[in-house]
């Protein structure tokens, strides 16, 4: 049985890495990966708290399942967009995609 603080620490680490990926990377794929990591960290938090607070309840796991579906969809759409952009512009660098500048 892994204790709650360990779970939270791992989750925090994952979130931090994901945040770095979102803010620090210039490749769109890396940014999406960062978002996936942050979502994963959130999921880990949910599971950890569920196990800790309601060890016998299983209903809360459904939230996690929904989140996983959401992650899959988000990744599919995100990568789809990136691929479409790459085909049109031959680049996946987000700094080159500044057409919406005001």
């Amino acid at each position: 049985m892994i204790s709650l603080p360990v779970v939270l620490a791992v989750a925090a680490l994952m979130f931090a890495i994901g945040l770095y990926g979102v803010l620090g990377q210039t490749n769109a794929i890396m940014v999406i990966m960062g978002v996936e990591l942050m979502l994963g960290a959130a999921m880990l938090n949910v599971v950890g708290f569920l196990r800790y607070a309601h060890p016998d309840a299983t209903g809360g796991s459904f939230f996690v399942l929904i989140l996983m579906t959401l992650m899959a969809l988000e990744a599919a759409i995100g990568f789809g967009l990136v691929i479409a952009t790459f085909r049109n512009r031959r680049t996946a660098e987000i700094d080159d995609l500044a057409d919406l500048k005001g």
Binding site: L19, V22, L23, T26, V31, I94, D95, L97, A98, D99, L100, K101, G102
Partner: protein
């Protein structure tokens, strides 16, 4: 019988409406309407002769317990039958007289008949007042019938204004009676004090106005500019009779000094009217003057002899004078006008019409045994107790003989003129007129029954009075025959209506004009200035407002737009298009929200 009462008023009114609408069939409809209107009136007379008395009224104004409605008694039935009969004859005559706009004229005549029936059948002073006004309005409309003739319009205005001015007396009297005695029934005793004078003088003044008594007689000759049937109906038999009717109908309300006043007015007018009639150069104006004079005699009759005598003369005069008017209308059609200079010899050419004219005229001039002889003779008898009146009545009798004879002589002897036209519709007109002429022959005998009907003293006659009457007749006729210039010269000096118009002008027109000028000045100086000032003020305010708008509101709007634009440009700077920065801002925002949430959760 109550239904018949209302029918007497409503049938001619409905007929008038129908005739006005159904223009093509107007003539037939009008005659049918007049016959239908006469039937209930005659039914009323028969019922009244059998002693029936009906009152059909309802409360009109609950506040003052004011009643309005119609009444059947001897007096109202008699007047109603007279009005209906003369009205019927005149409507038949008018179907022949009017060539153009016949429907309009006939509808007007029928509407007038309805108003007049309402007046004579009125239950009290209130109802009488209503129909009194209607009669005045209808008469003005009829007088002004000839649209193209400015004299007709002027005559109508004069007639309307004069009678209206006198009507003020009726209003004053009715209000004073209501205030003082609390009742508007005929015969209510006059209240005491000042109201006594108001009631008495007001009623007499109203009667004087409608009956064209001196000094309000000028409207009648002006009204002769109207069509002849109108003159025959309004100005011989019905409308002018309303004044006499008012004197009689008021009964006890006028007893005493007001009747005395009316008698004096009548006696003076009888002479004045007779003289005026001598001076006129238009046949219809002669007849108008004669009517004024005869109405004066009726006033004397009402004052000295009572209601039966006044009505006796009224009916006798109505038949005779209406005949003369109708005959004058035929002559007028033939000669294209009723000026005496046009009519020379007209009677010689159309002897039937002249016979009618002469018959009516002889009755008016009091030639025995025609109707007006008996009534005038009875007036002489009644006036015997009042020597001054007697003298005036006899002078008037001589005058009427003279002024009837003068146009008759011109009609018979005068030089013929070329251009006599055969009047279209003459047969209808002469036929109608002869009915009335027959009435002039027969009506002399009705004095007694008439008094029975009214429950009043019967008109009397005496050898002395007959002698006096005949003497007056001969004097008048003889003067015209033997010394034709004397009455003319006498009359020419008073040609201008005894200068009544001038006096009236000085008394009424001048002050009115001065008042008008004063109000005009006031208008220019004060009201106009105020209006101009207001306009100027409004302009100044508008200019100031304009300035405020340019400098204030416009500036505010422009400034707002500029501000929004600047804000837009400023906020556009945030939108760099760099995903990094967006994400950074998202993170900062999320952190801030989390911070706030944590803080609130802690506290």
């Amino acid at each position: 019988m109550a239904a018949v009462l209302w029918l007497t008023v409503l049938v001619p009114a409905a007929a008038a409406a129908l005739v006005a609408v159904a223009r093509p069939a107007a003539r037939g409809l009008a005659v049918a309407g007049a016959v239908a209107a006469a039937i209930p009136a005659w039914v009323l007379l028969v019922a009244a002769a059998e002693g029936e008395q009906v009152r059909s009224s309802s409360t009109w104004l609950p506040a003052g317990e004011l009643q309005a409605g119609l009444v059947l008694d001897g007096l109202s039935a008699l007047m109603s039958a007279t009005v209906a009969t003369v009205g019927l004859v005149v409507v038949v005559y008018a179907t022949g007289y009017f060539r153009e706009r016949a429907a309009s004229a006939l509808a007007g005549l029928l509407a007038f008949l309805a108003a007049m029936q309402g007046l004579v059948l009125a239950e009290g002073f209130l109802t009488l007042l209503i129909f009194w006004e209607l009669v005045g309005a209808m008469s003005a409309r009829l007088i002004a019938f000839s649209r193209d003739d400015p004299r007709a319009a002027a005559g109508a205005v004069r007639a309307f204004l004069t009678t209206r001015a006198a009507d003020v007396g009726l209003y004053a009297a009715v209000l004073a009676l209501l205030a003082g005695s609390g009742s508007l029934a005929f015969g209510t005793d006059r209240p005491d004090g000042a109201l006594d004078a108001l009631v008495g003088l007001g009623l007499v003044l109203a009667a004087m106005g409608k009956s064209a008594q001196a000094p309000l007689q000028t409207w009648l000759s002006g009204a002769m500019a109207g069509p002849t049937p109108v003159s025959a109906l309004l100005h011989s038999a019905t409308m002018v009779a309303a004044g006499v009717f008012l004197l009689v109908r008021s009964g006890e309300t006028l007893a005493g000094w007001p009747l005395e006043v009316a008698g004096w007015v009548g006696a003076v007018t009888a002479v004045g009217g007779a003289v005026i009639a001598l001076a006129q150069d238009d046949l219809k104006r002669v007849l108008a003057g004669s009517t004024t004079s005869q109405l004066g005699l009726m006033f004397v009759a009402a004052a000295a002899g009572g209601p039966a005598l006044a009505l006796f003369h009224l009916i006798a005069h109505a038949a005779g004078k209406a005949t003369m008017f109708l005959a004058a209308g035929v002559f007028g059609h033939q000669r294209g006008g009723t000026g005496l200079d046009r009519l020379g010899g007209a009677g010689r050419e159309d002897r039937t019409t002249f016979a009618l004219f002469a018959l009516g005229g002889a009755s008016i001039a009091a030639v025995p045994p025609l109707a007006a002889f008996w009534s005038k003779d009875a007036i002489v008898v009644a006036a015997e107790e009042h020597p001054a009146w007697l003298v005036l009545v006899l002078i008037a009798a001589a005058g009427s003989a003279a002024h009837v004879l003068r146009p008759a002589l011109i009609l018979w002897r005068g030089p013929s003129r070329d251009g006599t036209r055969s009047a279209a519709g003459r047969r209808v007109m002469v036929g109608a007129a002869s009915l009335l002429a027959l009435a002039s022959l027969g009506l002399g005998a009705v004095g007694g029954p008439l008094a029975d009907l009214l429950g009043a003293a019967a008109p009397e006659t005496s050898a002395v009075s007959v002698a006096l009457s005949l003497a007056a007749l001969l004097a008048g006729a003889g003067t015209v025959l033997l010394a034709p210039r004397v009455p003319i010269r006498l009359a020419t000096s008073v040609r201008r209506q005894l200068y009544t118009n001038e006096v009236l002008r000085a008394l009424a027109e001048r002050p009115l004009l001065i008042a008008a000028r004063l109000t005009d000045a006031f208008d220019r100086r004060m009201v106009d200035a105020a209006v101009d000032g207001t306009a100027r003020g409004v302009l100044a305010i508008a200019r100031a407002e304009d300035r405020v708008e340019r400098s204030g509101i416009d500036a505010a709007v422009d400034g707002l737009a500029r501000l929004v634009g600047r804000g837009g440009r400023q906020s556009a700077r945030i939108q760099t298009g760099r995903l990094h920065e967006y994400l950074r801002d998202t993170l900062l925002g999320a952190t801030a929200i989390a911070f706030v949430l944590v803080l609130t959760a802690l506290t």
